[in-house]
Chain length 205, copies 2
């Protein structure tokens, strides 16, 4: 068991967790080989990934499903509550605010902000959109460490700088630019435009 | 100039395009070095990426901005209209249906489908959600080659199989599983759970 795994391993862990929690398997025990086959992954890789998260696997028998689920959830941190603020209550921001699936991962968007007076005061996903001037107060009061950026590219670095200044240490960036941040801050880019470029190219070749 | 570039290069092209179209630069010409600096990327990489897409760069002077924008748009295929169908009109599906930004990339979601009778007939993003039984007709009539999957993990492979059977050759998958597809079909995974796992781990370490 290991507290530091590669980012690539970390990205695969939610896949295992989803599979284990699904109806796909009714057995109480499950092996890395079975998981690998179901998910279309290499079984050596899956065995290695699970070995770095759990110490409970038995040769030939595999893992007790419930135990492995608990170990994965604990390792990833889904049991921890994560409060986040979102900047940019346009279409994409409103979509994320309305998405109820985040609670499965312990994520709660505690407040949304926008710099446009037209948007401030409106409601999105049951939350009133706040002016940027309240960002500092909310981050302090709710001890927020995660910021979600859904502003257009032109405003993303400014939004990022404000989040970093308020003590945020992780940023989920949906704007199509590379953000500049201090080394202690982790940025996870969700670039829908990049995905669309790959898909578009595939369709037009 | 080259019609086949690496997927990693392809993923970066939209970043360059966004930068070039933004107000950040008012100059008529732009060099790879300036773009690299603005986006926080390696300038050798940027030069190589642009060289594989455009033949119009001049030593010392760089690129004529308008020409490079045109070349990038043409290469990525944003000028081509891409019709897509979406399966799964839950929260995430509705969010994507309501998102107006896709038209910038030439993408139009022509119809949405769901297997639940509760959802079929409701409206999302101005479109009536259709029953799965109409998927084949719509794909044929609109010549759809791209499918977007926003169903839960448990139903994703079934949705995928139906899309492939209707002749779809590219799939944008938002469900947290690895889909099994024939070799001719390209799958682009948008795994929000994986991103959240990385962010969550960073916050809890």
């Amino acid at each position: 068991m290991n507290s530091s795994v590669s980012i690539q391993t970390l990205r695969r862990l939610p896949l295992y967790l989803h599979y284990l929690k699904s109806d796909a398997t009714e057995s109480d025990t499950v092996s890395a080989t079975v998981i690998a086959e179901a998910l279309g992954l290499n079984d050596v890789q899956v065995r290695k990934d699970l070995g770095s998260v759990s110490g409970s696997g038995k040769p030939k028998k595999g893992y007790v499903r419930k135990e492995l689920i608990g170990e994965l959830e604990k390792f990833i941190g889904y049991n921890n509550h994560i409060g986040a603020v979102l900047i940019g209550a346009g279409n994409l921001g409103r979509a994320l605010l309305s998405y109820s699936g985040f609670s499965d991962y312990g994520l709660e968007i505690v407040a949304a902000f926008d710099r446009s007076n037209v948007v401030v005061g409106s409601y999105a996903g049951g939350r009133r959109v706040l002016p940027m001037s309240e960002l500092g107060r909310v981050c302090r009061e709710e001890n927020v460490k995660l910021g979600i950026i859904t502003v257009p590219a032109s405003g993303a670095q400014e939004a990022c700088d404000k989040l970093v200044a308020e003590g945020v240490t992780a940023i989920w960036n949906f704007a199509p630019i590379t953000l500049k941040v201090p080394e202690r801050v982790h940025v996870e880019n969700e670039n829908l435009a990049s995905s669309l470029a790959v898909l578009s190219k595939h369709l037009n070749v």
